[in-house]
C-alpha cells in the first residue's frame, strides 16, 4: 500500500469513527417513530384498567391527577427523556399499587400515551429499560429537519 492510500484509509477510518460517534450521540426524539402501533394497541386496555380512574378517559385528566396529553403535559416533560417519564411511571404508578406493573406493560402504556399525543409510530417498539429510553428526548415541538 502506498503512503497516499494509507493516509486516505486512516482518514476515512477516522471519519467513519467520528460519524458513528455522532450517530451514537445523536438524540432521538419522540417525533422519530419510537414505538409501534401494535405496542400502543396493547397499551390501551392496560391504560384503561390501571390509569384511567385517576387520569381520566382519553388521558384528559381530572382534578385528582393531571392530563397525560396535550400542551401542559408536554410542557412539563419537554426537555426530559422518555427514560425519566418511564421511571416515574414504573416506580410510583398506578397510585394505588405502585410498581406492580411489569416493564413490558409500562412500556405498552407509555406507547399508548405517545400515540394519543399523536407522536408518530414506527418500526421499533419502546424498550423497557430506563437507560435505553434515556436516549429518546421528549420534545413538545417537532425539531427542525436537518
Amino acid at each position: 500500500m502506498n503512503l497516499r492510500t494509507v493516509v486516505l484509509t486512516v482518514a476515512s477510518l477516522a471519519l467513519g469513527a467520528l460519524h458513528s460517534n455522532l450517530s451514537a450521540d445523536a438524540t432521538r426524539s419522540v417525533w422519530d417513530g419510537v414505538y409501534t402501533q401494535e405496542q400502543a394497541k396493547q397499551g390501551q386496555p392496560l391504560y384503561n384498567e390501571s390509569c384511567s380512574s385517576c387520569h381520566g378517559d382519553n388521558l384528559i385528566g381530572q382534578d385528582v391527577a393531571p392530563a397525560l396529553g396535550g400542551g401542559e403535559f408536554l410542557s412539563n416533560w419537554d426537555g426530559l427523556t422518555l427514560g425519566d417519564l418511564f421511571q416515574r411511571i414504573r416506580t410510583t404508578m398506578p397510585a394505588s399499587r405502585p410498581g406492580s406493573l411489569s416493564g413490558e406493560k409500562n412500556a405498552a402504556i407509555l406507547a399508548y400515551i405517545l400515540s394519543v399525543n399523536q407522536f408518530p409510530a414506527g418500526k421499533t417498539a419502546l424498550a423497557q429499560q430506563k437507560e435505553v429510553l434515556d436516549e429518546i428526548k421528549i420534545s413538545a415541538s417537532k425539531p427542525d429537519k436537518k
Binding site: V30, W31, Q44, N48, E49, S50, S52, S53, C54, G56, D57, N58, L59, I60, G61, Q62, D63, V64, A65, A67, G69, G70, G71, E72, F73, L74, S75, N76, W77, D78, G79, L80, D84, L85, Q87, R88, T91, T92, P94, A95, S96, R97, P98, G99, S100, V116, N117, Q118, F119, A140, S141, K142
Partner: protein
C-alpha cells in the same frame, strides 16, 4: 444528642430561690425553657402563628438581595418510605434554629439542623393496612410543636392511619405518658349513620393538615376521601375534637353535623343527618388565645356535586364556626354556601386580623375561599364587617336535587380572582377567531352570570355540563393566604382560569347508593380517587383499584387539535385555556378599606401557551399560571414559587421562587428552583441568619425541602 435531665431539677430550685431565670446547661446546644415566637425569628406553627398570618418580621433577605439567594442545603425525602414521594406538601416548623417536619411515603417525622439540613433524628411508624387504606396519604402538611416553656418540648402530629402522636422534640422518642404509649387513636369516637363506631382499621378517616396546639390543648380536624364518586352517602361523620396535651384525654368534641336536639339538626330534612357524613374540618384552624375562641372552617357534606340525599341547608357544611376553646361550644357560625354541591369546601386557615374600618377598631376574621371571596367577620360576634347579601342563583334540574334559592354574596372586598365565567369578557381574546371558537364551544354548556351554577345531568345529545370556575382547586385551596399585621393587608394567590363543565350521572348499578354523582352519561364510568390515594407505603399490591369498570369506547376524536403533538384536551381553544389571562393572580386586599390594593399575574406564562402564541406570531406579556400555592410574608416581601416548570429561555428549565414588594406588588427578585413549589414556603433565623425553606416536587423530581440563604458576603 440526649439531654441529661438529672442536672435540671436542683438547678431549677436554686434559680427559683435566687429569683432568676435560668438556662439549663445542655449538651444538645438547645437552651431549655425556650418559648418560640415569630418575633424571635421562629416559625412555630404551620401558619407561622396561631392567627394564620404566615408572617415573620424578618428583613435580612430583602429586595436588594433576594436574587442573590443561594441554596444553603437540601433535604430529599426519597428514603423516608419504601419509594420516593412526588407530592411533598409540608411546611416545616422552626424553633430556635431547629426544623421539624414530615416527609416521604411513610409520613415520617424529621428534625433537621436549620443551618445545614443535617438530620438530628427521624421517626417512622409502620401502621400496616390501616395506613394503606387511609383516605389521606403521603406526608401531608407538617407537624406542630408544644412546649411547657421549661424544656419539655414536643412534636405533635397525626399519622396516615389517623393517630395523634407526641414525640420528644430533642430525641424523637415517643412520649409514652401521652394517650396509650404516646398515641391517641383518633378513629375511636368517629361514627357513621346514627352513631355507629367506624371500623378502626378500614374506617374512612384521616388528615393532611397539622393539629392545632394552643396552651395545653390540641385541636384536631378530620378528613375523608374525595367526594366526587362516593360509594355511599352514609359516610363517616366529620368532627373536631380537643385533647389534653399531657394525657391525651379528649376535652371536647364538636359535631359538625348536628345531632337531634342540637341546633341545626333540622337543616338536614327527613332525618338525613343520620345517613350522610363528611362535613369535616380538613384544613388548618386558627385561635384567638386572648378571647379563648377557635375558628373552624368546615367542608362539604358527602357527595360534593349532588345533594339529593340531604335536602336542606346542611349545617355546618361550608360554614365558618367559632367555638369556645375550652368547651367546644358554638359561639357563632356563618354558612358560606347553603346546601353545598360545588365542592366549595372551606379550604384554608381563617385569618385573624385586628383592623380599623371607618374609624372603628374591629377584631376581625378574614376567610379566604375557593370562590376567591374573602369573607370578613367580627370574630367576636360573627357579624359581617361589610354586608353579605343573599342573592338568587341558578336552580338545579337534576332529579331529586333541591338547591337553595339564594346564596351569600359578599359586597366587600371584591372577589380577588374570577369565580364565574363572564361571557364574552372572560373568554380567550388573542384573536377574534379564538373568541368565536370559545363561544361556539360554550354553546354545549349551561353558562350563568354568577357563581353557584349547579351540575346538570350531562349528555352528548344535550348539554355537556354547567360551567363553574374554581371548584376543586380554587381560587384559594389548602395552601391558604397570608396577612401582614402591620399594614392590615391580606395577600392571596389564587387560580384564575379553572373553568370546567360540572355534570352528574347515575352510578353504574350496584356501585353506589347515591342516585347521582360526578360524571357524564356518555362517558365510561371511572371511579375518581383522591390525589395520592393508595400511595401510602403499604398499599397492597394485589388490590385492584376501584370496582369493575365499563368497557371504554373508541377514543373520541376531534375535540379541537392542539398545536404541536397533542390532540384536544379539556375546555380549550387551539390548545389554549378558554378563559383569557391572567391565568393566576396574586392579590393584596386592604382590610381597613375592603378594597383590592394591587393585583399582579402569578408566576410566568406556561410553556405551551408561550409556544402556541409564538408560533402564531401573537405578542404577549406575563400571562401568569393557574393553580393555588401558599405564600410567605416578611417585613418587606411577599414570597412564593411557581407551581409549574417552564423553559422560557430567560432561566434554565425549572420553576422560580419570586419575591414581590408588599406595597406595590412589583416583582423585585427571583431565584431558580429545579422543580415546582409543592408546599408552602416559610422563613426563620438560625444562628442569626435568615433562611427560606420550600418543598419542591413534581414530574420527574421527587420531594425535596430546599433551603435558601444569602451568600456569606451579603
Amino acid at each position: 444528642m440526649r439531654r441529661k435531665t438529672s442536672n435540671v431539677l436542683p438547678l431549677t430550685i436554686l434559680c427559683v430561690a435566687l429569683g432568676t431565670t435560668w438556662i439549663a446547661i445542655n449538651a444538645s446546644g438547645q437552651g431549655a425553657g425556650y418559648v418560640p415566637s415569630t418575633q424571635k425569628g421562629d416559625w412555630p406553627y404551620y401558619t407561622a402563628d396561631l392567627k394564620g398570618s404566615k408572617y415573620v418580621p424578618l428583613d435580612q433577605i430583602n429586595a436588594s438581595n433576594f436574587s442573590k439567594l443561594e441554596v444553603a442545603w437540601r433535604f430529599k425525602t426519597d428514603n423516608l418510605g419504601p419509594r420516593p414521594e412526588y407530592k411533598l406538601e409540608g411546611t416545616p416548623v422552626a424553633v430556635n434554629g431547629t426544623l421539624y417536619t414530615t416527609g416521604g411515603t411513610r409520613r415520617s417525622i424529621v428534625s433537621l439542623d436549620g443551618k445545614t439540613g443535617e438530620v438530628n433524628w427521624t421517626f417512622s411508624f409502620r401502621e400496616g393496612n390501616r395506613a394503606a387504606v387511609a383516605p389521606r396519604q403521603l406526608s401531608g402538611r407538617g407537624v406542630s410543636y408544644w412546649t411547657d416553656g421549661h424544656g419539655d418540648d414536643r412534636v405533635v402530629f397525626v399519622t396516615t392511619g389517623y393517630r395523634l402522636v407526641e414525640l420528644n422534640a430533642h430525641t424523637g422518642a415517643i412520649i409514652t405518658s401521652f394517650g396509650q404509649n404516646g398515641m391517641v387513636d383518633l378513629k375511636v369516637g368517629m361514627v357513621k349513620g346514627a352513631g355507629e363506631q367506624i371500623d378502626l382499621e378500614t374506617g374512612e378517616a384521616g388528615l393532611h393538615s397539622t393539629p392545632l396546639v394552643v396552651k395545653d390543648e390540641i385541636l384536631v380536624g378530620s378528613s375523608m376521601k374525595e367526594g366526587m364518586t362516593p360509594v355511599t352517602h352514609n359516610n363517616t361523620k366529620g368532627m373536631v375534637r380537643a385533647y389534653d396535651v399531657h394525657t391525651g384525654k379528649q376535652l371536647w368534641a364538636f359535631n359538625t353535623i348536628p345531632r337531634p336536639g342540637e341546633f341545626g339538626n333540622d337543616t338536614w330534612e327527613n332525618g338525613s343527618w343520620a345517613i350522610n357524613g363528611n362535613t369535616g374540618v380538613w384544613t388548618q384552624m386558627t385561635v384567638d388565645e386572648d378571647l379563648g375562641l377557635a375558628y373552624l372552617p368546615v367542608e362539604d357534606p358527602t357527595s360534593d356535586f349532588y345533594g339529593g340525599h340531604r335536602p336542606g341547608n346542611n349545617l355546618y357544611g361550608d360554614s365558618l364556626v367559632c367555638v369556645d376553646l375550652k368547651t367546644g361550644q358554638r359561639k357563632w357560625f356563618f354558612q358560606v354556601v347553603h346546601h353545598p354541591i360545588w365542592d366549595f369546601d372551606l379550604s384554608s386557615a381563617p385569618i385573624l386580623a385586628d383592623i380599623t374600618v371607618d374609624g372603628r377598631a374591629i377584631k376581625a376574621v378574614a376567610l379566604p375561599s375557593k370562590q376567591a371571596w374573602l369573607y370578613v367577620f367580627d370574630r367576636v360576634t360573627g357579624k359581617p364587617v361589610w354586608p353579605i347579601e343573599e342573592r338568587p342563583v341558578q336552580q338545579s334540574d337534576v332529579p331529586g336535587e333541591k338547591t337553595s334559592p339564594t346564596q351569600p354574596f359578599p359586597t366587600k372586598p371584591p372577589a380577588y380572582a374570577r369565580n364565574y365565567l363572564k361571557v364574552p369578557d372572560d373568554l380567550i381574546d388573542f384573536t377574534p377567531e379564538m373568541r368565536a371558537q370559545a363561544k361556539d364551544l360554550l354553546s354545549r354548556y349551561r353558562v350563568t352570570d354568577r357563581p353557584f351554577n349547579p351540575a346538570l345531568v350531562g349528555d352528548e345529545k344535550g348539554l355537556l355540563g354547567a360551567i363553574n370556575v374554581g371548584n376543586a382547586g380554587g381560587g384559594t385551596n389548602w395552601p391558604g393566604a397570608g396577612y401582614d399585621p402591620e399594614t392590615h393587608i391580606v395577600y392571596a394567590q389564587a387560580a384564575n382560569s379553572s373553568a370546567a363543565g360540572m355534570s352528574v350521572r347515575k352510578p353504574p348499578p350496584g356501585f353506589s347508593d347515591l342516585n347521582y354523582f360526578s360524571g357524564r352519561n356518555d362517558q365510561p364510568f371511572r371511579e375518581a380517587l383522591g390525589p395520592g390515594f393508595g400511595t401510602a407505603a403499604d398499599s397492597p399490591l394485589a388490590k385492584t383499584v376501584g370496582r369493575p369498570q365499563e368497557p371504554p369506547p373508541a377514543p373520541a376524536g376531534g375535540r379541537g387539535a392542539a398545536a404541536g403533538g397533542g390532540g384536544g384536551f379539556g375546555l380549550n381553544v387551539d390548545g389554549l385555556p378558554i378563559m383569557k389571562p391572567p391565568y393566576g393572580v396574586i392579590s393584596a386586599i386592604d382590610l381597613d378599606k375592603g378594597d383590592l390594593k394591587w393585583q399582579v399575574p402569578y408566576g410566568e406564562t406556561p410553556d405551551n401557551v408561550r409556544r402556541i402564541l409564538t408560533e402564531k406570531g401573537i405578542k404577549f406579556g406575563n400571562l401568569g399560571q393557574n393553580g393555588s400555592v401558599g405564600l410567605l410574608v416578611t417585613k418587606t416581601l411577599v414570597i412564593l414559587g411557581d407551581n409549574q416548570v417552564t423553559n422560557p429561555g430567560t432561566h434554565p428549565r425549572g420553576a422560580m421562587l419570586r419575591a414581590y414588594d408588599k406595597q406595590s406588588g412589583k416583582e423585585v427578585g427571583a431565584v431558580w428552583m429545579p422543580a415546582p413549589q409543592s408546599g408552602s414556603p416559610m422563613s426563620y433565623l438560625a444562628g442569626g441568619k435568615q433562611y427560606i425553606v420550600v418543598a419542591v416536587s413534581g414530574g420527574a423530581y421527587s420531594g425535596e425541602y430546599l433551603a435558601f440563604s444569602l451568600p456569606e458576603n451579603e
